[in-house]
Symmetry: C3
Subunit: 266 residues, 3 copies
């Protein structure tokens, strides 16, 4: 881990701060993302009404916007929340779920990406689509593009938006448009559980309250991946993996982190 050591200290800082993370996220993952944030040491809030999202941003430490089950009233709330977060200098994370799958979804993702997120976290297909780098082979919301194909697209996207960009796959990458950090972690069983990527985006927002965007993105990838690897070792199928991952996050320490992650500058 030469230039970008991932250490447990940021997690300890997060646990001391217990940041309130406001989630405007999809129906499929709400419960899981809340439990992931609680186990990590953060405090979740879920609110989406136009009538109150700006007020929630004001009392929160960070924001996640995830377009998984978007619809027009939610998109309007996303716009307002993102604008308010930027105005109040609070970090926000964009998870452009399914970008590339439909024109509506891609349009909303592109609009939000231009609203100064601190971090964009997505799978390779979504990054490829969002960066416009390629016609992504998007299949629903799963990814059929390989994460290393998406590194160039992620760098472009980071340069275009000013955000750090995190791409998850067999190898994960985080980039600010110049530096690229490669992280080998996680487990092949993780994509068989719905919404773990969305949970990672929430974790990224929590870390963005105690570190600058690129460090937050890389640390979130490492901590979440190490938890997933630790958890998968106790599973014979994907059924209990989300609950085991929650326990691993709750019990995460330096040893579990080192055991589960290899980091290299790329």
């Amino acid at each position: 881990m030469p230039d970008h050591p991932i250490s447990i200290e940021l997690l300890e800082a997060l646990r001391r701060r217990r940041p309130l993370v406001h989630n405007i996220t999809n129906y499929v993952v709400m419960t899981q993302s809340a439990n992931i944030l609680l186990a990590l040491g953060a405090s979740p809030a879920m609110a989406h009404a136009v009538d109150e999202v700006e007020d929630f941003v004001a009392i929160s430490d960070a924001l996640v916007i995830n377009i998984g089950t978007l619809s027009p009233p939610w998109v309007e709330a996303m716009r307002r929340a993102a604008a308010r977060a930027v105005q109040l200098r609070k970090p926000w994370v964009l998870d452009p779920v399914g970008c590339g799958a439909t024109a509506y979804r891609t349009g909303v993702a592109a609009e939000l990406a231009a609203m100064s997120p601190a971090v964009i976290r997505a799978n390779p297909s979504e990054i490829l689509s969002l960066s416009g780098a390629a016609a992504a082979g998007q299949k629903g919301v799963d990814s059929s593009a390989r994460s290393d194909d998406a590194v160039a697209a992620a760098r472009s996207l980071a340069q275009w938006t000013g955000a750090a960009v995190a791409v998850t796959g067999a190898i994960d990458y985080a980039t600010d448009g110049e530096r690229v950090i490669a992280i080998e972690t996680g487990d092949p069983m993780m994509p068989l559980c719905t919404g773990l990527g969305c949970g990672l985006s929430a974790v990224t927002a929590a870390f963005a309250t105690v570190a600058p965007p690129l460090t937050a993105a890389a640390t979130a990838l490492a901590v979440f991946g190490a938890a997933g690897r630790d958890a998968a070792a106790r599973c014979r199928g994907p059924g209990h993996l989300p609950a085991e991952l929650v326990d691993s996050l709750y019990l995460m320490d330096q040893a579990m982190l080192e055991r589960g992650v290899q980091v290299a500058s790329a």
Copy 2:
């Protein structure tokens, strides 16, 4: 299993194809249905905005429409998605949750049933209500009618709609209006977990991408029931049953299937 053998080959074909199943389903079961589809070997998508449902149908291999937590904007999306699926000759499955409980719900279910679903999957009360065969003793969304009472209603419903109809209960039935397949499987603890029937409807849609409707319906009943029976044997209460069922689906093989299912023509 004389006339209607259920074999593992259809599941293997499904796993090879990895169909994308588009779900317009209720809030209660979204996470669970997605995880069930992933463990089975399919790929889930959840999207409901009128702005994109037709586009999602176009990239999907099958569609599930489940009215569990319906509201007017969602019903409009259901109408458009069903029409598009029929136009594109993609199979779609109707789960008329709570049909009979309220006039609104019964009306929506009847409207959708007339839109050429490949399969209708429901409990006996819902089938009785939807077929108009009887004043169903509907109690919320649980079933208080016995599944064998509903066989005649299921046959009528199949003849009226052109769909295969699957009825779940102590004994499950699948019919195309002429043939009736009776399947004994599952476990009495399954109704104590919310939304497993909805998960079965999603599984039915996945099988409808590799088999004609009646075979898909019967195979889904058998595979899902065998997984539930296998899973329940490891549970002392309903708490872990959904996760165990996911593991059983993930690990399903011919032996587990034969152990957990008796099939007979009725």
Copy 3:
């Protein structure tokens, strides 16, 4: 347990009756609340469309209104459902999630509190905010106020609304404005699982079908807390606690209840 014995008989009465509990609740907890009700011995329904909520109230035995992820169309449904429940003399329970966090949320909670709920169940911050007794130190939807600070506020709220009020914290309290019952139960790990308080509100509604409000509130606190304590003893982290709690509710008997609860009049 001098004046307010909590006995297993009410739970047995509930299981015999199998009440249908209609939930208008937040997206985060729907699945979990449904499973909690099923394991307890009740039957859940989840429906929120203005087009059918009044009809659902009419066929249900009790109603829960939880404002966790409120928005204007849902609030209108909440108003209609509460009014109908009162008209039909069916008990309804208010869970004012996040009251105090935003003006919108506080306004809706106050409006609903004035609509004759049988029980209001909340955390200390929410009770303090809702009673107007203090400027609550609300942090998202978690509670940063101590439950004993909120007892006076709970008594005022009970007197103002006519509801029994249940406050959950390190020690739980139930009051009808005059009597105060203090209950020591539960486990410190429970707040690390999202939405268990919401699950308790659903359990309270189920008990309100077999007991008057104060008794229902106190019994729900005791039964749910004893289940949580029993479940937490089997957990090394919060990941499996919700599923374990479901099993404990399913297996609840007099011995588990006595083991997990101390009750005193305060």
